[in-house]
């Protein structure tokens, strides 16, 4: 048994009641300034008759959501080694800056002279990201990684169409790729061709050569890849794809593994996307908002979404350039998740050139430390490149433990929650059976890494001695395992549906 207990609120057969089950008629959690007396000329048949929302005082609203927050785990709670998500510490000064009136209370359509600060920040952020990735221009519009990937696919199509090569219908994706890659390519209308990984866990070059043709629009690649391994033959990969006239797209999810050490632009990538909520430490917010800027080499610049932030040397002012005849247009409203951009910019300034390199050094060291410390433990094995190096994340397979005890990656992950740690990613990438993908990030102190390794060892022992304890884990959390089968068989997706059920 572990000493950890997650906070929980319990009443009858629930944790915290639903907001709809709280409050009383007549209560209010707001105040409004006095209304002007105007005759509204809206006919009754356009007005609503009733709205069934709960009525709560501010006190009740605050207590309810405070209690909910107490039953949630974040990076600020403890280690969060979710592979490929880079759950690093989010500096609080970044939050403060994004909440300043001068950031939060400016409208995107304001006269340009009244938003020079915002435009300057975006311009400078773009310059920083371009330098970090080794690209020429960066579009800050996309709201998330997958959005950035989708935009990259649209840019790819525009580029080939411009060159009279619009027939290229395929995008190549490694079998270890994150699901958003093929999904984004498919959304853009491409046929997805999957290439296998070789025995070293890298893209199989022979298979890639066979798959690359005059139909290839692009290859989407993460480097380091989702196994945490550096694609060391990236220059050859670039040669193969460029050789058939295709573009190379970099999925920036794993940039934390090479920050300041190598640049995707120098590896041959033509389009590079970033996850500001990963590498650049903007908070994940329980799923979002993030930002997925897309960087491009010079020849793709003309297709970028509008507007692009430019600087007028003569008049010494920043402006939004809409005069871009080859632009693909808009991929969302306005100019990007500005509130997130402020945080990323501040983070880059806080770390500085040396700090960013130190980030990847510490992240890579932390991951290699776990790799070495755990790889001696019976039950855990490295499917690929076990004697080599990993970058910022490491993928173990617990297939040996499963064969021995019947306990797999999911049960181990659930038991880890009882140790007060968040579980790593499991069952991903799909090419590793019983995968546990561990990304510690540079934010973890050595003691936490030791604790994690100890816990994984202890759990393997528990699997041998009392596997049932693992199957019923977690028990120290606010709630135990949930009936996900029932949830998907008879979905109850809202209060309305709950009342009907």
């Amino acid at each position: 048994m572990t000493n950890y207990r997650q906070a929980k609120w319990v009443s009858d057969s629930l944790l915290e009641p639903l907001i709809f089950e709280l409050g009383k008629p007549g209560r209010a959690g707001y105040t409004l300034p006095p209304k002007l007396h105007e005759q509204l000329k809206i006919s009754k048949n356009l007005l609503r008759e009733k709205l069934e929302l709960p009525e709560l005082s501010e006190v009740e609203v605050v207590r309810h959501y405070t209690r909910l927050s107490q039953m949630n785990y974040g990076v600020d709670s403890g280690i969060y080694p979710l592979g490929s998500c880079t759950m690093k510490y989010n500096p609080k000064v970044c939050e403060e800056l994004a909440s300043l009136e001068e950031a939060a209370c400016v409208h995107p359509y304001q006269a340009e002279d009244s938003v020079q600060g915002a435009l300057e920040l975006m311009y400078r952020l773009e310059r920083c990201l371009a330098e970090i990735a080794g690209v020429d221009r960066v579009c800050l519009h996309p709201s998330a990684g997958a959005h950035g990937e989708f935009v990259a696919m649209l840019l790819t199509r525009a580029y080939h169409k411009f060159k009279g090569d619009g027939g290229r219908a395929q995008v190549i994706v490694p079998d270890s790729a994150h699901g958003t890659n093929p999904a984004s390519a498919a959304m853009a209308g491409y046929e997805v061709v999957t290439v296998p990984s070789d025995a070293r866990g890298r893209v199989d070059l022979k298979a890639l050569e066979a798959a690359a043709s005059e139909w290839t629009a692009a290859l989407m690649l993460t480097n380091p890849n989702t196994l945490g391994l550096f694609e060391d033959r990236i220059l050859k990969i670039a040669e193969i794809i460029h050789g058939v006239g295709g573009l190379l797209f970099y999925d920036g999810a794993n940039l934390n593994g090479v920050l300041g050490k190598a640049r995707p632009g120098d590896m041959g990538f033509d389009i590079v996307h970033f996850n500001l909520h990963k590498t650049f430490s903007t908070p994940h917010g329980g799923g979002g908002p993030g930002a997925g800027p897309v960087g491009v080499k010079r020849e793709i610049e003309k297709f970028l979404p509008v507007p692009v932030v430019e600087f007028d040397e003569k008049r010494k002012r920043y402006y939004l350039d809409y005069d871009r005849p080859h632009s693909i247009g808009k991929v969302k409203a306005f100019y990007g998740n500005f509130g997130v951009l402020v945080k990323a910019y501040a983070y880059i300034l806080l770390m500085g050139a040396e700090g960013l390199a130190e980030v990847s050094e510490a992240a890579v060291l932390n991951a290699n430390y776990i790799m070495r410390k755990l790889s001696g433990t019976k039950g855990y094995e490295l499917k690929f490149d076990s004697s080599g190096l990993c970058k910022h994340e490491v993928v173990f397979s617990v297939e040996p433990l499963k064969r021995e005890t019947g306990i797999g990656a999911k049960d181990i992950a659930k038991r880890l929650l009882d140790y007060g740690m968040h579980a790593p990613t499991y069952y991903f990438p799909p090419i590793v059976p019983e995968a546990l993908m561990i990304e510690p990030t540079e934010s973890e102190p050595k003691e936490e890494l030791d604790r994690l390794v100890e816990a994984l060892r202890a759990i393997a022992d528990e699997a041998r001695k009392s596997p049932d304890k693992l199957r019923s884990a977690p028990t120290a959390t606010a709630i135990g395992r949930l009936d996900e089968v029932k949830a998907s068989r008879e979905p109850i997706l809202s209060w309305r549906m709950y009342r009907k059920a």
Binding site: Y427, E484, V485, A487, S488, R489
Partner: protein, 134 residues
């Protein structure tokens, strides 16, 4: 598995019923999938082709879903879908509990039964195949 049925490499079973063929997924398939939460049934009158390599969209006959995976159902014979098991929409778990009886997925009118039956396995061959899969 059961005798008297024919099997495809994709773990579908076929029962010949006069001029028609009833189709479902095997016990092996339902075990691999885990708890079935949803079945995407094919449309009645859909034309399907017997599954062969390389697999194409015209060979697909719906899908069976668990919470973590989706398994496409491939048609073991070419023909037209005549009937689908609507009961599965309310009770997808029938695929787990009775894959060979109440968990049937659809009934086909085969267009080339004599020729295509040769491409399917009988119970013995399927048992051998399962052994090889380990």
């Amino acid at each position: 598995m059961q005798e008297g049925l024919y099997y495809s490499l994709e773990h579908e079973w076929v029962k010949i019923e006069g001029k028609l063929a009833r189709v479902g997924v095997t016990d092996y398939a339902q075990r691999k999938l885990g708890d079935v939460v949803y079945i995407e049934l094919p449309e009645v009158r859909k034309q399907v082709k017997q599954v062969a390599a390389p697999k194409g969209k015209e060979m697909e006959m719906g899908a069976v879903e668990s919470i973590k995976a989706v398994s496409v159902v491939y048609s073991p014979l070419s023909g037209e879908v005549r009937e689908v098991n609507r009961e599965l929409q309310d009770r997808p778990e029938l695929v787990n509990t009775s894959p060979y009886s109440d968990g049937w997925i659809c009934v086909l009118q085969p267009s080339a039964l004599d020729v295509e039956l040769k491409n399917l396995m009988d119970a013995r061959a399927y048992a051998e195949y399962l052994k090889k899969l380990g």
